[in-house]
Symmetry: C2
Subunit: 159 residues, 2 copies
């Protein structure tokens, strides 16, 4: 087990380095930077998923996969569990973290809210990548209403 701060510091610096939206590209530049961060997260999530014990990889129930993210994956990343998991039982899940570690380095005022997406993109990709390894295609988005709490919405794509 590595010092948890190492991952968090590296994440912060990677965001600083990869967050370089072209000012001339407007919102397109931001989208491109976010998708680069999501891509990095996806590949890390896939790789983490591939290290899982075989019994976990045999999970075939959606809800079990989501519980795995909320417990085992969150513990490996942040030494805690997700604070909440809700579902509409139709393939949409909302995962709530009341104090998301990768947002803690930001200020907590609402004036920083618009900075939040770049600190969430990697983790959205990571959740999606881990689900991919578990056999589920998904769309993952994040939202923040009051820092440092955030919600990840996972929509499982039926094939």
């Amino acid at each position: 087990m590595a010092d948890a701060a190492l991952f968090e510091f590296l994440h912060t610096e990677m965001v600083a380095e990869l967050w370089a939206p072209d000012p001339d590209a407007g919102s397109g530049g931001k989208k491109k930077s976010l998708s680069v961060l999501e891509g990095v997260g996806f590949r890390v999530g896939q790789a983490l998923g591939e290290r899982l014990p075989r019994e976990t990889l045999a999970v075939r129930e959606e809800l079990d996969a989501l519980k795995f993210l909320c417990k085992d994956l969150w513990a490996a990343m942040f030494q805690k569990h997700m604070d909440g998991l809700r579902t509409n039982h139709q393939g949409t899940y909302v995962l709530q973290d009341n104090s998301f570690p990768l947002l803690l380095t930001m200020g907590s005022g609402s004036q920083y809210l618009e900075e939040a997406p770049k600190f969430l993109a990697f983790t959205c990709g990571l959740l999606c990548g881990a689900l991919h390894t578990l056999g589920f295609q998904s769309l993952v988005t994040a939202s923040v209403t009051a820092l440092p709490a955030c919600k990840f919405q996972v929509v499982i794509q039926k094939s």
Copy 2:
């Protein structure tokens, strides 16, 4: 403590993303990519250094600082100690890791040797950043003769 693989996977993917030497720029492009990775490492090393207990920050002997890198810092990053530390007692130190974890993802044949620098730049910067927090200016370079072993050479800059 976080799953050690998380840091290693994130490092690998960050290298893949930031290693984009401009083919037209020749060796200049490679140098630029390496210095970006070193810069990320430096800032992570500084931040890790700032988390150290105060008694460590009071270290003022060069050799104690180097021993700290080889033991405490390496343990926090890689769950092991550096395999060797040698010095000429004139400010030059050679730190040897016989199985450097960030090189383990590469193949071990000599044909991959030229790929090694991009997997070492972050850690060179990190050692330099941690030393900076401890009060020492340094130049850190790395060399590989047989994967996955590598040596980091630290030259303390006298002010």
